[in-house]
Subunit: 626 residues, 2 copies
């Protein structure tokens, strides 16, 4: 432990990693880009120097040649104008809307460099440079999430949605494996009932895969899993997700043939985390009806509230059920929050002890101030993440790389045999770079440039408290500060009226704050919702191109249909009576994602905050003057 | 028709569209890139000029700041070195392997420009500039494929695999709709048997969707389709694909819960096109067993052979079956060949008459020589493409844009209601730009930069015979020339031995040539396969980094298991007796994709060809000397 401060946390200066809100690093960016382009162009020229140029000078000087270049320039000018006219100023502290911010220079430059070589990671032959980078980046993710890099596996997907599909795909095929064994080679599961086979723990199923291979019947068994036979309506059971899940899970149940009716949403608590007691009741109720559980999904960083499900509790629950002969697959959707596990890791990727972490957050200057974050509960949730069987994690969210870069990490790579094609035994030869990545992932052709971008980001920014931990820690601190400042503010005055303001939760789990305003004394929820809708319109593209806007945010609606009574207390804090919540059943909130790593650390944060309150006040004036 | 030559086909000079094998257009590329980067950087600076710079000069000059920049540079240098060491020289005429070539400058530049704005096309709010570009690009694709732009729909996917999934997802959900109507509102399908409901033509099902909406029971019906209930094993029937299909279809049957057993591969003929008489027999056999057909898939440009399925015949077959009360969904997988439909279109996107087309191919200088291409059969296949219900088409293949950019076009956008979430009635308000694209496509977050790249390419290169048609026409001509030259060559001598060479087919449907060598007199297929495997190794990354290699190609194996006896005649032409084919059952071929648009048009093509033959001869020497 003495060595913890060895890797100087200041090796990486956050400000030097981004182009910056005023393009502060523009010279560096342009020079480096120029260098990379030159590298590529010389690479082309140096390939078989004996080959002639195919463009004659006459051709290049011809009118039509120039016309084509002019046409190209014209289209690109038009594109640039369109981009400038309406794009979102993610880079600015004035943008606090969706989960976006400036992205890492190194990731952008790496993408641009690799793009000219146009590798396709579907097959090694088409991506000899970038397939190994994807494998390395996948290993980085798996390691950061706490998996054993030797037995786990990770790769880049186009987005979190596809990663979620892939997780459920594995869970689904795995669930049907033991019954398929019974059909093809019953001796391997002798004495086990169908119910037992449907409740076999993941590791045991994977053991059975090995047994089937040894017995030479693996291919035959696999073709009797749902991948061969198709899904039988409801025969595999149900998938349990928290109400706060991303909507891609609803699509996943449809796409994978499981059906939305077998997709059960579990009530969240007042902190918008899955209620563990309700989860338990839901499992019990299904078990009582002899309906198996295909999978339970926990969310680390819900996209609307930034909530962190109690991963440790879910893992404990599964362990307890396994003692009773019940088991299921466990997937963590950390598309949003995944990278924030870096905050909890030391320079050797070891999960920091709670007290050490608390100290380092301050001594390493991740946090400027002292905060209660993280609570023990949050800490335990992060610690327990590797108890999941697979985890969605998106580099294009908290990895600060450009779209499109999602990702998935899988605890035990043996599970790939259940979704792979061609190569039945993917990793048995111990090869590191697969020859045909496309044969055991959901997608096919994929940009090697994405892998280059993620790989270069990981090589530049350590995946621990000194790198990503610091960047993301700052965004978390900004959310903590924002909430405290909101608490101190209580209300704002505009045009002689007083408006209460309340955050959705008092201690944000991550870096999203939801909040709403209400005119003091107003007890009508519809009126309050209208006010916040107007505030959102004033602070978004809805009121016109945002380039001149003082502040840009996003919004969301929390309804009784989606969340039960979870938002009830929040609404009450704003002076809305409970019966009004029951009548209207939905509340509109401003959703403020604070990914920008420069806010908490800003030299004159107090000035920034005061300026911000004044902007909010003006927005209120605008909203009530319509 | 008199106006056909109005739009001067020389408006676009092919050579001015690409960076070029010797980086011939490097100055243009770099200057334009610089301009686009400046545009973005000034855009940042001009956003609220009153905001201070957040980086102080002191900070920028600090040691740690410079250290971070150095670290970034170091990683990027390493990346560049890795890319140069092993990447594939797609740009060169020496690369004739996978379906890759140089990509359009405009697409690369547009991607790079848009990437800094980092739009996410999952939601309009996060991509105010690039979601409309995706909609436009989708419309371009639908129009080029012959769909009515007013009623059709198209969008960009990450790749053809996902587009294929999406097509099958729609087909599957659609198939289950009529039975769901019967369950919820039987009066709407009064008097119809289950069999009739499972054989309702696509347009009628979509009519039924409208009726269900009118009756106010659409949501209830939809939740009784497979999306709500899950797929029932085999209850929806089977999917028919040609043996030559891409392997993503096998994955699709698994992912979508249909099951590989319900996925039937139809024998291809000697030209590697789906055998229509076998297709008919296969349909009849299933119908006789009362097993419905979910979908038939035709391929325009098989990835191994470049074969074009007889789309017109498939469409005719469906029409004939519909008269007998049998129907199914029809998807065309034109991931590879889709853009080549541009060759058949005039400046107003009208499908050219056969004789006019033949004339223009020569008079517009698309072709340098006179070729039999296209045959009537091929012509009719392209013409019939819009008879499909949905079509996969990949911009990152024959659209000459960088990865990852797949796409799908859908004939009747009403079908989206069967896969959409949140917005039940997607297009009813006639809005052009959806607010949440992610709610009715398979994916979620997606790079707006991809849309910008494809959009800019389409704006620069016309999607007709004067633009993409000319580029792709050249690649097709190169394949024709290659085949004729191979025919004239017949055999090559190396180290005193004579080696026969044969193309897989005598008239390539598109721009892929497969070929194999055999030592004259050798009747052993295994020996022949070993020779071609060695030739491949000599001409690929297998024998080391390809940068010094004279020629780079790809290879594939055609087996009896996958193709039945389709390769038999080819093998016989090389002097291998039929019984040997029966014994060994697989043949290794070199797979030569000729996407490079500079080969046919090369000033001294005869010199190029002679040089190439000499390279091949040396490869043969290398292969037999091991």
């Amino acid at each position: 432990m003495a060595k913890q401060n060895k890797g100087n946390p200041k090796d990486v200066t956050v400000k030097a990693l981004f182009l910056g809100p005023k393009s502060e690093n523009r010279e560096y960016f342009k020079n480096t880009l120029n260098f990379l382009m030159d590298e590529h162009m010389h690479w082309r020229r140096d390939f078989h120097p004996e080959d002639r140029e195919i463009f004659s000078i006459d051709e290049v000087r011809s009118k039509n040649y120039q016309k084509t270049l002019d046409r190209t320039s014209e289209v690109l000018s038009q594109l640039s104008a369109k981009l400038k006219a309406t794009s979102m100023p993610w880079f600015s502290a004035r943008y606090l809307g969706h989960m976006n911010s400036d992205t890492l220079m190194v990731a952008n430059l790496a993408y641009m460099a690799a793009m000219l070589y146009n590798p396709n990671n579907v097959a090694y032959e088409a991506s000899t440079a970038t397939t190994p980078m994807e494998i390395e980046a996948g290993k980085d993710l798996a390691t950061m999430l706490g998996f054993n890099p030797k037995t786990s596996w990770g790769h880049i997907t186009t987005d979190g949605t596809i990663a979620n599909y892939e997780g459920l795909w594995m869970a689904r095929n795995l669930k049907s494996f033991p019954l398929a064994v019974k059909k093809v080679k019953p001796s391997l599961v002798k004495g086990m009932s169908d119910w037992q086979l449907l409740n076999m723990p993941v590791q045991k199923v994977l053991g059975l895969v090995g047994k089937a291979k040894k017995a030479g019947c693996f291919d035959a068994v696999r073709s009797e899993t749902v991948r061969g036979t198709g899904v039988g309506k409801g025969t595999l059971g149900v998938v349990l997700v928290p109400q706060s899940k991303h909507y891609s899970w609803v699509k996943a149940a449809d796409v994978l043939g499981i059906g939305n009716k077998n997709f059960i949403e579990v009530q969240v608590d007042g902190h918008f985390r899955m209620d563990i007691s309700v989860l338990k009741k839901t499992i019990d109720a299904h078990i009582a009806k002899k309906i198996p559980i295909i999978a339970v999904v926990g969310v680390v960083g819900t996209t609307e509230e930034g909530a962190i499900d109690r991963i440790a509790e879910i893992a404990k629950l599964r362990a307890a059920y396994e003692k009773k002969g019940i088991s299921f697959y466990f997937h963590v959707d950390a598309a949003y929050g995944g990278y924030s596990r870096a905050l909890f890791l030391d320079e050797k990727s070891r999960f920091l002890e709670y007290n050490v972490l608390k100290k380092r957050l301050f001594s390493d200057k991740v946090f400027v101030g002292n905060h209660s974050y993280p609570s023990r509960e949050i800490y335990e949730s992060y610690k327990a993440i590797p108890q999941a069987d697979s985890i969605t994690i998106d580099p294009h969210k908290m990895g600060y790389v450009p779209y499109a870069a999602g990702g998935i990490a899988i605890k035990d790579r043996r599970i790939l045999d259940l979704i792979s094609y061609f190569a039945a035994y993917v990793f048995e030869e111990g090869k590191d770079s697969p020859t045909l990545l496309g044969s055991y992932i959901m997608e096919g052709s994929k940009a090697g440039a994405t892998a280059a971008g993620v790989w270069a980001a990981h090589r530049t920014v350590p995946l621990n408290i000194t790198g990503y931990g610091e960047i993301i820690g700052r965004s978390i601190e900004a959310a903590q500060m924002f909430t405290r400042e909101l608490e101190a503010t209580k209300s704002l005055k505009a045009k002689g009226k007083e408006f209460l303001v309340q955050p959705l939760v008092w201690t944000p789990d991550f870096n999203i704050i939801c909040m709403a305003f209400n005119e003091k004394g107003n007890a009508n929820l519809e009126k309050m919702n209208a006010l916040n809708s107007k505030l959102y319109a004033e602070s978004s593209y809805v009121s016109g191109p945002v380039y001149k806007n003082d502040w840009v945010t996003s919004n969301t609606e929390l309804s009784k249909e989606d969340y039960g009574d979870a938002p009830k207390d929040f609404v009450k804090r704003l002076g809305i009576p409970e019966k009004e919540w029951k009548r209207v059943g939905k509340v509109r909130v401003l959703r403020v994602c604070m990914l920008n790593p420069f806010i908490s650390n800003f030299q004159h944060h107090d000035v920034l905050w005061k300026g911000f309150l004044e902007i909010l006040r003006k927005k209120l004036e605008g909203a009530i003057s319509d």
